[in-house]
Amino acid sequence: MNRFALPLALFALLVVVLAISIRHSPDKSLIVSPLVGRAAPGFALPSLTDAQHRVRSEDLRGRWYLLNVWGTWCVECRAEHAMLVDVAHSGVIPIIGLDWKDEDDRALEWLAQLGNPYQAVALDHDGRTAIDWGVYGAPETFLVNAQGVVVYKLVGPLTRESWTREFLPRLPRPAGVGF
């Protein structure tokens, strides 16, 4: 091998390292949202179930919660709904619904029919809050910690697999989820 081929050999080595580092660290795939690791955008929206009150992000401070973006017009949301109900039953973490660009009657009907996993449902009629949160399309689920920082974001329906693999390991151990 001539000495002029040395740079090529070193570069080949570098490619191996880079290829491994792309594949190797599962953490990297999490940075799908620039919001992860940052403070969750604030909101104060009318509640679907309680006309007297508003659902406020400030009231959620101090505990972990899931923010689930859904709508009755969304097919995938119907698919994930059973899983949300299961999570709600397990009592591990409260779920806040963000009903995105939806009609209230239909939403109430949907919850009556499929069960209500949500502690509260915020109505985002004009979609402004969804934009603040960087929502691409429903369903999306955000995990927010007690300090109000977005810990994880899932695009697409919540499944048992993604729940056990992505959400559960991120929750504070053990029983003390903080509420």
Partner: protein, 652 residues
């Protein structure tokens, strides 16, 4: 409609880049001169198409078209016009489009500038640039299309990342990218020379102005980024060895080596294969920097949203471009021989040391930046490399580099008769040493060893840089721009060394808790806190503090540090208040509200910090002056004349 037009223009640009690459490289290889004629129109067409795409996206931003996802994510109806335009490169997709636009611009300039060079050579250069452009266009269209629609359209946008809403940062990416992309030209020249299997001194002369200009842009770009980090991030420093900063610094270091090695190849026909390798490495590091930032492999304050698919695509692109050019190098470089020799004390040896030390410095930065990745690949525990590694190790090659510079400036080409310049070297060194002692003990009344070393090296470099132009002027000889530019750039180096030494040695910094009316004394200045007031901007609100600065009982003015909260993203940014006082930089940043009217306030007194950025600007001006030397244009013209001669002979 316009976004679709922009998308379509990008697809056409991709096709034209493919044609440019094919006709340029294959045409020259197969000696089909009619194919070569298609190359320049393809370059022009590609530029028009890319410019159209940019115009479409800018229009979408300016007219608040929130049905375009990229616009909805990076703009807002409250965003001022200036930032709506610069929001174009506020995130990944638009940054890539900017990259491509600048490459198209450089390629157009190269097409115009190399029109006088031998036709096949210039076709090869443009062909290689076509390959680069093709890769980036394909990347954009396949993984990062900025024209994707958002259905239903958003009623309003999420706003531009607030830390990017700053004039310095708004113009930082275009200038930095102009430098990065400019090194693609040196790369293309190197590949063309290897494809041709011929590299002479004329080649180096053609390559020099392009490389020097790219280097000057990169210098300004890095300096702007550092300046922004200083006053916007409020961390109180100008360089953090952040992976993204390093990604721009590595091509700069190797590019600096390239600028010097090209000088030797131009003047003496030496270092041919080394120069080629540096040209490849400089651009490769620019590409690698893009990879590291865009793939999300490295997490940094600068990273945008990352996507593993993009990482894989860029990696494949790196393999093709860097791997291909290095393979070409392994194959062709052994054919290039230099016959001339030089003596130990000759200028060539100093430039050789310059190159070796700069490459070592780049390797140190590279090692520190890549170490976390390598540890990760080997399954070792997570590694974090920061200032404690970089600062001392980086000094090891850089101190000898700076010490050799003033000596090397006195050396002559080819002959190692340093003895003739012994007096000049000694006198300049003595003057610098006296200055250094006077400043350290006269002004600041204290000094560490490195302070004295730095304060001696700086003036020594400046004085030595002045000798040659002054000597020419005294003897009523002309001072070519190349010589003048070199002197200016080296004076910039000297100023930089002085600035950095003073800042590092004599900075005072304190975090204090102040209530309204209380004062703190730092570095001979008194800072009296006047409390905070609420305020509101176009798309943010926040608080503004006021601090009255006095020195020796003379009021110097009031500073207003701010804490802003941007409405849409809810991000809080710190706007430090900065004031210059006789080259001393006073920085005040608001910390936290401690309650009961008390605030934590960070106060820094940094003498001469502005000199650091000013010096970088001086270096860049030197580069610009040297790059505009008429000698290079004459060289191009005489090459054209020679080619015409050759054609005439062949015809006769």
């Amino acid at each position: 409609m316009l976004p679709e037009l922009g998308h379509f223009a990008l697809i056409l640009a991709l096709l034209l880049a493919g044609l440019q690459a094919f006709f340029g490289i294959a045409g020259a290889h197969l000696r089909r001169d009619r194919w070569l004629a298609a190359v320049a129109p393809a370059v022009a067409g590609q530029f028009v198409m890319v410019a159209t795409a940019v115009a479409c996206l800018v229009t979408a931003f300016v007219s608040h078209d929130f049905s375009v996802r990229y616009v909805a994510e990076n703009s807002n109806s409250a965003l001022p016009l200036f930032y709506r335009v610069t929001a174009l490169w506020g995130a990944h997709e638009g940054s890539l489009l900017l990259w491509i636009f600048l490459l198209a611009g450089w390629t157009l300039a190269v097409a115009a500038g190399t029109a006088r060079l031998p036709a096949r050579f210039s076709a090869r250069v443009l062909g290689v640039l076509g390959v680069v452009s093709f890769g980036f266009l394909l990347f954009t269209l396949a993984t990062s299309n900025p024209f994707l629609r958002l259905i239903p359209a958003a009623p309003d946008g999420r706003d531009l990342n607030p830390i990017l809403q700053d004039p310095a940062l708004a113009i930082h990416p275009p200038i930095l990218y102009t430098g990065y992309v400019g090194f693609a030209v040196a790369f293309a020249f190197a590949c063309a020379a290897m494809l041709e299997g011929r590299l002479d001194q004329a080649w180096a002369r053609w390559t020099r102005p392009w490389t020097t200009s790219a280097w000057a842009f990169l210098t300004v770009g890095i300096a702007l980024g550092s300046w922004w980090a200083y006053y916007e991030l409020g961390w109180g420093g100008f360089w953090f060895w952040d992976p993204v900063e390093n990604a721009s610094f590595m091509p700069w270091l190797v590019g600096t080596a390239l600028v010097h090695s090209l000088a030797v190849t131009d003047k003496r026909g030496l270092f041919k294969s080394w120069t080629l390798l540096l040209a490849i490495l400089t651009f490769s590091l620019s590409l690698l920097g893009t990879f590291l930032v865009r793939s999300g492999v490295l997490v940094s304050v600068h990273s945008f949203a990352a996507d593993p698919m993009r990482g894989i695509f860029i990696l494949a692109f790196l393999v093709v471009m860097i791997g291909g050019s290095l393979a070409l190098y392994a194959w062709r470089a052994p054919l290039l021989r230099s016959s001339a020799g030089f003596e130990l004390g000759a200028r060539e040896s100093f430039l050789l040391f310059n190159n070796i030390l700069l490459v070592i410095a780049a390797a140190i930065v590279f090692g520190g930046t890549m170490a976390p990745l390598i540890a990760d690949a080997l399954g070792l525990p997570t590694l974090s490399v920061g200032t404690p590694y970089f600062n001392p190790t980086f000094l090891m090659p850089v101190l000898p580099l700076l010490a050799l510079l003033p000596v090397g400036l006195h050396a002559k080409w080819k002959k190692g008769r340093l003895r003739e310049s012994e007096r000049a070297i000694g006198v300049t060194l003595a003057v610098a040493l006296v200055l250094s002692l006077a400043v350290s003990f006269g002004v600041f009344a204290q000094a560490k060893v490195l302070t004295l070393v730095g304060l001696t090296l700086g003036p020594w470099i400046i004085l030595s840089s002045l000798l040659d132009p002054l000597d020419r002027w005294r003897r009523k000889l002309s001072v070519p721009r190349a010589v003048l530019g070199m002197a200016i750039a080296h004076i910039g180096v000297g100023l930089f060394v002085i600035g950095i030494t003073v800042v590092q040695s004599f900075t005072e910094e304190h975090d204090v808790a102040l209530a309204r009316g209380e004062a703190a004394s730092v570095g001979g200045y008194e800072f009296r806190f006047g409390g905070v007031a609420q305020m509101e901007g176009p798309n943010y609100d926040g608080v503004r503090g006021s601090v009255v600065v006095t020195r020796h009982a003379t009021a110097l003015g009031t500073l207003y540090p701010e804490k802003r909260r941007y409405w849409v993203q809810g991000t809080v940014t710190t706007e430090a208040a900065i004031q210059m006082n006789r080259a001393t930089n006073l920085l005040i940043a608001l910390g936290d509200d401690l309650g009961a009217g008390r605030w934590s306030v960070r106060i820094q007194v940094r003498p001469l910090i502005s000199l650091v950025w000013l010096a970088a600007l001086v270096m860049a001006i030197g580069g610009a002056v040297a790059g505009s030397d008429r000698r290079y244009h004459l060289a191009a013209r005489s090459a054209a004349a020679a080619a015409a001669e050759g054609a005439k002979e062949a015809a006769g």
